[in-house]
């Protein structure tokens, strides 16, 4: 699109369901997948005379989410009614926040090629979900399920600063990581509607003047859909601009199957929600104590953890991102390496991301720390770093260590000694394994001598096999080459 002199500007509006036991304004259980209309009461059905009472746990989780996203939590926020008629909205209004949201001015650092970009967040508000309409099961009627009515949501609105569909996706991935793994306020299962995103997209020229938009795209129920729908819309708008049009504000629906967007309503049909203060709920006040309670055990932001892993422990950005995927894993690595220096950190990180991560997953454990105490891992990494364990013997050592309960560093030493796992660089020993390997393959030796040098790797494999992985690869390679040459002479 550079030929048009335009750039893309994207903003996101994300709804995240808080993982509470009960709904936001009544005591109904907040569960997914119950039979239709089985988790409802006078409040969530909007029966005459029913009144909302605020779920304190939802407030705690919303405040926690706000803190995790660097928001300024407002001491006083207010609920309002957003009014419109729709059959899955029983009261005829949604209880939400408007002029006085729970929190303002947050930010989320999203990884990019330049090492991360801060996306400013406008506001975070607490609100209730609506019910679910099913239009495609009966020919001439719609079905309504009110179980979802009143489930607690937070709405997070970004400034319109995202520059591409892929950056929009990266933002959402990061947001989910923070809310699900770091703050643990939501399970963020998109397929169950626990994280929903609406996007708006505009095209601007180099002077920042809007050429097209602002187009709101709805019905984006996976990260891939967000990226694809925005890319589709970006191309459509660019084509319209190229044709000399200036497409205006409208709302469009993404059709994932057709990979197309279609118009839902234009600007002129903009709804008047007749916001009014919610008289049934007093203003929500957040005091010091509830702020502290909400922040309890909240880990630092993943961007912060990644920065430390890169700058302090010398990990690559890719490695750091994988280690910081969960706060537990990052904490585990940091406990393992302490101030052990950069090479140790990289070695340990390799072990954590490789064999430990695989084993944790296989066993369905919460954290790598459940497999091996940090001190034992540190000892193992140190042996590997010193060259006393090869990749193969280290792997073998880990396998054996996984069978022990809470092994100590001395258990590691003992195991390495008793199982003879240390790497061998001693020439006499190496020569014995090499000669054994060469004697077993006279044909290959002949081909090597005839000039087929790529067989060196094959012989190394045989040497490693003969040594049960204990041969020091560098010393063995040198000696192998020498022996092959000397036999020539």
């Amino acid at each position: 699109m550079s030929d048009l002199g335009t750039g893309t500007v994207i903003g996101l509006e994300v709804h995240v369901r808080l993982a509470t036991v009960t709904k936001l304004f009544c005591g109904c259980p907040a569960v997914f997948g119950a039979s239709p209309n089985s988790r409802v009461c006078p409040m969530c059905l909007g029966l005459p005379g029913a009144l909302p009472t605020l779920n304190g746990d939802a407030v705690r989780l919303a405040v926690r989410a706000a803190l995790a996203l660097g928001y300024r939590v407002e001491r006083t926020s207010e609920f309002v009614r957003k009014q419109y008629f729709y059959p899955d909205l029983p009261k005829g209004y949604q209880i939400t926040q408007y002029a006085h949201p729970l929190a303002r001015q947050g930010s989320l650092r999203v990884p990019d090629a330049a090492g991360g970009r801060r996306v400013p967040l406008r506001r975070l508000q607490l609100e209730e979900d609506a019910g679910k309409s099913v239009h495609d099961q009966l020919e001439s009627s719609s079905l309504l399920d009110f179980n979802r009515c009143g489930l607690p949501l937070i709405e997070i609105v970004t400034e319109p600063v995202l520059r591409s569909p892929s950056e929009a996706r990266a933002f959402l991935v990061r947001l989910r990581q923070v809310l699900e793994r770091y703050a643990r306020v939501s399970d963020c299962r998109m397929e169950e509607g626990e994280l929903r995103a609406d996007a708006n997209i505009s095209l601007v020229d180099s002077g920042g003047v809007t050429r097209a938009g602002r187009v709101e795209v709805k019905n984006l129920n996976s990260f891939a859909h967000v990226e694809r729908a925005l890319a589709v819309e970006e191309r459509r708008l660019a084509a319209r601009v190229a044709e000399g049009h200036a497409p205006g504000a409208e709302t469009r629906l993404y059709d994932a199957e057709a990979r197309k967007t279609r118009a839902l309503r234009g600007k002129e049909e903009v709804l008047d929600y007749r916001y009014m203060p919610e008289p049934d709920l007093p203003p929500l006040r957040i005091d010091e104590a509830s702020l502290r309670a909400a922040a309890d055990g909240l880990p630092p932001a993943p961007a912060e953890v990644e920065r430390r892993l890169i700058e302090h422990h010398g990990l690559s950005p890719q490695e750091a991102a994988r280690i910081a995927n969960t706060p537990g894993r990052a904490a585990y690595l940091e406990a393992t390496v302490a101030d052990g220096g950069l090479p140790l950190a990289r070695t340990a990180s390799g072990l954590v991301l490789g064999q430990l991560a695989a084993e944790r997953k296989r066993r369905g454990l919460e954290s790598e720390a459940d497999l091996l105490p940090p001190a034992a891992l540190r000892r193992l990494a140190q042996l590997r770093l010193d060259g006393r364990l090869s990749a193969r013997t280290a792997a073998r050592a880990l396998e054996l260590l996984f069978r022990l309960r809470e092994p100590s560093p001395s258990d590691v030493d003992e195991l390495v000694a008793s199982r003879q796992l240390t790497q061998v660089a001693e020439p006499a020993e190496l020569e014995r394994w090499i000669r054994q390997a060469l004697a077993a393959h006279p044909g290959e030796v002949e081909r090597y001598r005839a000039g087929e040098e790529r067989l060196l790797g094959y012989f190394m494999g045989e040497v490693m096999r003969a040594s049960s992985g204990r041969a020091d690869p560098r010393a063995a390679t040198l000696l192998l080459r020498a022996l092959l040459r000397s036999a020539e002479g």
Partner: protein
């Protein structure tokens, strides 16, 4: 003597013999049924118990309020916009014809826990919107003092049932004066407590920030007793407050000497009926002879309060009544083809004209282009009304004024001019806007039509307010309508 004329009379019968309850209940039922008979029926009730049981409900053992015992076995009527599982809750609307709530309002549950026996549900202006009970989809209620006149509203059915002697007390609700105004017009006591004193859970919302459950009775003491039973914090209503219920046994008619009573000049303007003015002046004379200090005070926001009320109340009503859409309960227009038609016809057929008028008005003032000019300004004005009243109440014990500008008006006389009807609330809306307690006490009559005097006190001062009210009651010695052979 009618055993239903007071709580004391009920208790006397209940304790005098073993089958006292059966007799009291049958008597109440017979009187209630009689109100539905004749050429000009009072029509106080929309639904009634089928039969009087032999054994009355016991106060629940867990009932912590001391008033519990006072209501054991006592028949009480409940306005039909307060949810009950034993009767339909129609709100006087076709929209909710036959609708039975799956739960009972907190106030009703507390009455029953105190041993009260709910006799039936009373007529009202549709959803509480009106001042005459003529805006009921089920026909108007008539004033027991003069059947050609309105009983006031919107709790007209409750007021008429008490005034006619079918029950010693009834629950009503007040958004702009719907307890005090019908009490005044029917010659009984109407008590609207402090906002947050009685749970609104189960009161069908008209304008949530103004809605209160209140009590209609024939004496201040009885009203205070019922209030004590239903008051107190309720976790189901986020606007209810953690305050101990006011105690009826602390209500004492003894002391008027030294009390300062503020008389707001704005409540004695041109709109005040001469007869009502004369009754008020006579009462003020009595008060001052008893040693009360009568102090002129000023409430400059009085005239604006009514305008403010008629912006805020319809705005909230338009929101609260959005749920009547024909989808889940209530009236659903048959044979509709589209969603728009379902809404349009269900609401068009289900709501009466006054309700529609207020929904349209409320929708208008909340619409984006009008919001600042109407709704936001009304909220500012509401604060001013409250500030005015609190300022005055900082200087006097109570404000005393007429409850209504005129006595009961003839049926049908104001239906054509809604704003004339709205003026019936002129003196009562301020207490709802400010959330302070207010009490209407009968102080006399004009050509046989009862006149009420209204007391207003500071928030949570119901005990003091009822004490002054009881003193006025005793001083005036007004004969309630039963003495003239009604009911």
């Amino acid at each position: 003597m009618n055993p239903l004329s007071s709580l004391a009379a009920c208790q006397k019968l209940l304790s005098s013999r073993a089958d006292g309850f059966a007799e009291l209940a049958s008597e109440a039922l017979a009187r209630a049924v009689a109100l539905e008979r004749g050429e000009q029926p009072i029509h106080a009730f929309l639904s009634l118990r089928d039969t009087a049981p032999c054994v009355g409900p016991e106060p629940s053992p867990g009932a912590s309020w001391r008033a519990g015992g006072c209501l054991a076995g006592v028949p009480i009527a409940v306005k039909d916009n307060i949810c009950t599982t034993d009767f339909p809750t129609t709100c006087g609307s076709r929209m909710l014809q036959g609708y039975v709530s799956p739960y009972s309002a907190t106030a009703v549950r507390r009455l029953e826990a105190a041993g009260a026996w709910i006799l039936g549900k009373t007529n009202l202006d549709e959803f509480g919107m009106g001042s005459s009970t003529e805006h009921s989809a089920y026909g108007p209620t008539r004033n027991p003092a003069d059947r050609s006149r309105v009983p006031g509203g919107s709790s007209g059915g409750s007021a008429a049932a008490v005034a006619a002697g079918a029950v010693p007390a009834a629950l009503g609700s007040s958004t702009g004066g719907s307890v005090r105004q019908p009490a005044a017009l029917c010659g009984i006591v109407g008590l609207k407590p402090t906002y947050g004193r009685v749970s609104r859970y189960g009161l069908v919302a008209f304008a949530s920030s103004l809605d209160h459950i209140g009590v209609l009775a024939r004496s201040v003491r009885d009203a205070a007793t019922v209030l004590e039973a239903i008051a107190g914090f309720d976790r189901r209503d986020a606007t209810s407050q953690r305050r101990d219920p006011p105690r009826a046994d602390r209500v004492s008619a003894a002391e008027l000497a030294g009390r300062s009573i503020g008389i707001p000049g704005e409540y004695f303007g041109d709109e005040l009926d001469d007869g009502v003015r004369a009754v008020m002046e006579r009462t003020l004379g009595l008060l001052s002879r008893c040693g009360a200090r009568i102090t002129p005070v000023s409430l400059p926001s009085t005239e604006l309060a009514l305008a403010c009320y008629y912006v805020i109340a319809p705005a909230e009503a338009s929101s609260n009544l959005a749920r009547y859409d024909g989808v889940r309960f209530g009236r659903r227009a048959p044979g509709v083809a589209t969603l728009r038609e379902l809404y349009g016809r269900s609401r068009g057929e289900g709501f009466g004209d006054e309700v529609k008028r207020r929904i349209v008005l409320g929708t208008h003032v909340l619409s984006a282009p009008r919001y600042e000019a109407f709704y936001v300004r009304a909220l500012q004005l509401r604060r001013r009304v409250g500030d005015d009243i609190r300022r005055v109440l900082g200087e006097v014990d109570a404000i005393f004024a007429p409850t209504t500008p005129s006595p009961a008006f003839p049926l049908g006389s104001r239906c054509a001019a809604p704003t004339d009807m709205y003026r019936a609330d002129l003196y009562t809306v301020a207490a709802n806007l400010a959330g302070i307690p207010a009490l209407s006490v009968p102080i006399g009559d004009v050509d046989g039509l009862p006149v009420g005097g209204q007391l207003m006190c500071g928030a949570w001062e119901e005990e003091k307010m009822c004490s002054i009210g009881a003193a006025i009651e005793r001083l005036v010695g007004y004969d309630p309508p039963r003495a003239r052979g009604v009911g």
